[in-house]
């Protein structure tokens, strides 16, 4: 027999692509974190525990740690109750207008935490129109009650109840309907079924959701920055921020240690979440069609009214308060037909230089990050879903880390990695827009990746193999077969990345420089500088963009797998 063509298997299109992807993920996700750990235990390259010891012996670190844990635990419990009840009600019962309700309820998740905090400040202070109307406003001149531990807990709970809702809803949807029906058939009341069957089976989902909320609260910067810093109630992220912005890169080893600190606590939470989600195994093989809704009967209207009232109060009222502030000429002036003005919007869009730059910067950065992340995701998910291997499993975990860990950890890691001039290129990207872009790519990669992965899972691999048999090489298959089919999920992922980047503050608060302000940064500095009306105006603009984009997905949501868009029921 003649010898066939020998193919060493190297340097084919798909293999080159895979190698590039691996390098890219290593550079984006692994390198910064490795650099951070290195700096914490061996600052400047030599092993030393001095920085560790300094942090250990510093009372303020312990206070910040205590504050972080207090607020995170408090908010987690509150969010579990609120999000849990809503998830049960929305998923199991015959409530009407579920899509609209879910959209409103999940909104805090896509609106920036600092914007929600700012909005709540507008309706809770001495000059709150609402409280004045009810006669409940604190006397003029007193401190807004939200500037406190309790305020932070409340806002974190508002922000992250949707996470509990989403985790629990995913668990409930995977619950085989037979288990519920068997309970009902054996004579148990609906309430008994919820108590004795559904909730016990949901324990892994609940614990996973709890761990996720805890880690998110722990890493949250926007809420304690707006509500804690004024009253000098510092959490670990805000402590890191203050140290770094007060003293500059000189304290890098110290903040590296603090980042490791908060990162380690977060990892415990991430592990709990991972273990629990893996436990979610019902050993019943069904293509679970959602269980038939529990009929609420005459309770339906009261339940609907209660849920809507609470959600409108928690989400919509504060935003209206924010809008009112954005429309008055000066903070504290009551809004009416005479006082209403658009001058704040004109000010932030046209007059204020930093704010004008920030609009452009945030738009551009978010759009570019969304495009690049989507490109990487379409390729990476191809290998993750269809070419399983141990290396790729590790790679997907690596890609998750920058998002799972608190944002400050990634920020500090990026500063450490990019402070010195880059090798070969010879210049530093610190204090440029590029460090922000890289941090965005690293942090938001999974947001684009997850929808695309679920898209691939829904696709029959045979359609790619059929193209392969037809003679099409990897890149050609990618462009002519795979891309058209994953386009909807890729678009959904791109929108998620854009929205998150557009609303983000944690990364840019630590990485911005003059000229590279983002919207989050200008809202923060307006508020700190007492320009509340300008802060409100910028916030309203971001909310409009955010909700507009979220609504735009209604145009193609029917092409998406369930669960890709958090705001869709």
């Amino acid at each position: 027999m003649m010898l066939g063509r020998v193919r060493p298997g190297l340097f084919r299109q798909d293999q080159i692509t895979l190698i590039l992807l691996v390098l890219l993920v290593l550079a984006l996700s692994v390198a910064p974190l490795v650099r951070l750990v290195g700096e914490a235990i061996a600052p400047g390259g030599t092993f030393s525990t001095a920085a560790l010891q300094r942090a250990w012996n510093s009372p303020i670190v312990w206070v910040a740690l205590r504050n972080s844990l207090e607020t995170s635990f408090g908010a987690t419990i509150l969010a579990m109750m609120f999000g849990g009840v809503v998830a049960l009600a929305v998923t199991l019962t015959d409530l009407r207008a579920r899509n609209a309700f879910v959209f409103v309820f999940v909104m805090p998740l896509i609106i920036a935490p600092q914007v929600m905090a700012l909005a709540w400040l507008q309706i809770s202070g001495p000059s709150s129109a609402l409280l004045n109307l009810l006669g409940l406003a604190p006397p003029l001149g007193t401190k807004n009650p939200l500037y406190s531990r309790e305020g932070i807990i409340l806002l974190l709970a508002v922000e992250y109840s949707p996470l509990v809702f989403l985790t629990l809803r995913a668990g409930l949807r995977a619950l085989p309907r037979e288990l519920i029906e068997a309970g009902l058939a054996s004579g148990a009341s609906k309430f008994t079924v919820v108590r004795t069957i559904i909730l016990p089976l949901m324990t892994p989902s609940l614990v996973a959701g709890m761990a996720l909320v805890f880690v998110s609260c722990l890493g949250n910067f926007g809420v304690p920055a707006f509500l804690g810093i004024p009253g000098n109630y510092l959490t670990l992220p805000t402590l890191i921020y203050q140290r770094l912005s007060g003293l500059g890169p000189g304290v890098l080893s110290e903040v590296a240690v603090l980042s490791m600190f908060i990162g380690s606590i977060a990892i415990i939470g991430i592990l709990v979440q991972d273990i629990m989600l893996r436990r979610r195994d019902f050993r019943v093989a069904t293509t679970s069609i959602a269980a038939r809704a529990f009929e609420l009967g005459r309770w339906r209207l009261p339940v609907e009214i209660t849920l809507w009232a609470v959600t409108l109060f928690v989400v919509i009222m504060p935003i209206l308060g924010l809008l009112a502030t954005a429309l008055v000429p000066a903070y504290g002036v009551p809004l009416n037909a005479k006082s209403a003005t658009s001058q704040n919007f004109a000010y932030v869009i046209f007059e204020h230089a930093a704010s004008r730059r920030a609009l452009v910067n945030s738009f551009t950065l978010s759009a570019v990050a969304a495009l690049i992340v989507t490109g990487i995701s379409v390729l990476l998910a191809y290998f993750l879903v269809w070419r399983k291997s141990a290396l790729l499993r590790w790679l997907s975990i690596a890609a998750e880390m920058p998002y799972a860990l608190p944002g400050v950890v990634l920020s500090i890691a990026c500063i450490l990695l990019f402070l010195k001039p880059l090798p070969v290129l010879g210049f530093s990207i610190y204090n440029t827009v590029w460090i922000l872009l890289i941090a965005y790519l690293a942090r938001f990669l999974v947001l684009g990746l997850r929808p695309v992965i679920s898209g691939y899972h829904q696709m029959d691999r045979a359609i790619e193999e059929a193209a392969q048999v037809a003679g099409a090489g990897f890149l050609r298959r990618l462009v002519t077969i795979i891309l058209p089919v994953v386009a909807p999920v890729a678009a959904a992922g791109a929108i998620l990345v854009f929205l998150t980047a557009f609303n983000e503050l944690t990364l840019s608060a630590l990485l911005w420089s003059s000229g590279t302000e983002t919207l989050g940064v200008v809202v923060f500095s307006f508020e700190q500088g007492g320009e509340s009306t300008a802060a409100a105006a910028v916030s309203i603009l971001t909310i409009l963009v955010t909700i507009g984009l979220a609504l735009s997905t209604l145009l193609f949501h029917h092409k998406l797998p369930q669960g890709v868009l958090p705001w869709r029921d």
Binding site: G4, R7, D460, A462, E465, A467, Q468, V469, A470, A472
Partner: protein
């Protein structure tokens, strides 16, 4: 030349062997079916032949060219095979015509010829009027026809089919079977057809490879599989064969030999080289057995159940002796026996199973 040669092929997933030392040769233009129960390694073999997976051991050649082997792996896109997938694998974002034309575009076939070949392929499967439809708006049978047309237009030397009828209604299967047979006759393409349905394999294939547990048990034309199973497993699998214990009771001559089955004497078929004396296994089928009240030394079996099958009955019996073997035979209507009766049974035909069993 599109002879497909599979030599000493093995495939391991971890330490589990899905294929063990499989060899077979499919001649140019031959229609070969691979038949076996679910999980026996059929799809694994097809994916190795197509080039989707790398072989663990052994080699695969098309004509004289080794496409898979130690250190050699020609990727699927360069093998020029046609594949009809069980799930059809039509591209949802292209209409019927674009689906059929895709391979030709990839292979840079000139526009005029491409259009002609696509039109011819669509006409062959009777889908010309559906050429601008998307797959989503076609029925299962129509989708399978598009998949076939896609193959047809490519003019491959070998077509691989992985249970192409498994997702279709029973009444559609017959017409698609016909379609595949026509395709084969018209093109003379080598066909490698995977199925778990013996009726399908028998109806279509020139030769059938019976597989079990990652091995080929027998590779032969359908009638030989049925009449002369090479081992007990094939005998039981094909045509619901029954295995009876017996002893050779004479010298084989002209492919026939006298046997003694639990005291009943009969002359049945055997292989030419069957010389051994002593205990043998005998394969019989329902239509080889008959009730004979005149017989001098019949097998005595008790009727357990009669199942009416329209025009005749299937009778389930138990042999009345220590072996307690179940037997099945057909009885014409009307039938004057009842469950519980003792029936005298004789063998009209049978086959002495060669003693070597691959699995042993």
């Amino acid at each position: 030349m599109a002879r497909l040669t599979i030599e000493a092929l093995s495939k391991y997933f971890g330490d589990q062997a899905a294929l063990k030392n499989v060899s077979m040769q499919v001649e140019d233009g031959e229609f070969v079916a691979v038949l076996g129960p679910s999980g026996c390694g059929k799809t694994t073999m097809l994916r190795l032949v197509a080039g989707f997976d790398a072989v663990s051991e052994g080699k695969i050649a098309i004509g004289d060219r080794i496409v898979s082997g130690p250190g050699t792996h020609l990727p699927p896109e360069e093998r020029r095979m046609g594949i009809v997938f069980q799930s059809y694998a039509l591209w949802p974002h292209m209409d019927v015509e674009e689906n059929v034309a895709y391979a030709l575009k990839v292979q840079k076939v000139a526009t005029v010829e491409r259009a002609a070949r696509v039109a011819r392929a669509l006409e062959t499967v009777g889908l010309t009027s559906f050429r601008n439809r998307r797959p989503a708006s076609l029925s299962g049978g129509q989708r399978q026809r598009v998949a076939l047309a896609r193959c047809l237009a490519m003019q491959p030397e070998i077509v691989l089919l992985d249970e192409p009828l498994a997702n279709l209604d029973v009444h559609l299967r017959a017409s698609m079977e016909d379609e595949f047979a026509t395709f084969h006759k018209r093109t003379g393409t080598t066909m490698f057809y995977i199925t778990h349905d013996q009726a399908e394999a028998m109806a279509l294939a020139d030769r059938i490879a019976v597989m079990d547990h990652g091995r080929i048990l027998q590779f032969a034309p359908p009638s030989q599989l049925y009449r002369e199973p090479a081992n007990e497993t094939v005998a039981r699998f094909i045509g619901a064969g029954m295995i009876l214990p017996g002893k050779l009771a004479g010298e084989p001559a002209n492919g026939r030999v006298a046997v003694d089955i639990l005291g009943h004497r009969a002359v049945i078929r055997c292989g030419p080289d069957h010389g051994a004396q002593g205990p043998v296994k005998i394969c019989v089928r329902a239509q080889d057995l008959a009730v004979d009240r005149q017989a001098s030394d019949p097998l005595s079996a008790r009727l357990r159940r009669l199942v009416y099958q329209g025009g005749h009955f299937q009778a389930d019996l138990l042999l009345e002796n220590a072996e307690n073997l179940p037997l099945a035979l057909t009885l014409p209507e009307p039938c004057e026996v009842a469950p519980g009766d003792l029936l005298p049974i004789v063998l009209r035909d049978g086959w002495v199973v060669p003693q070597t069993d691959v699995l042993a």
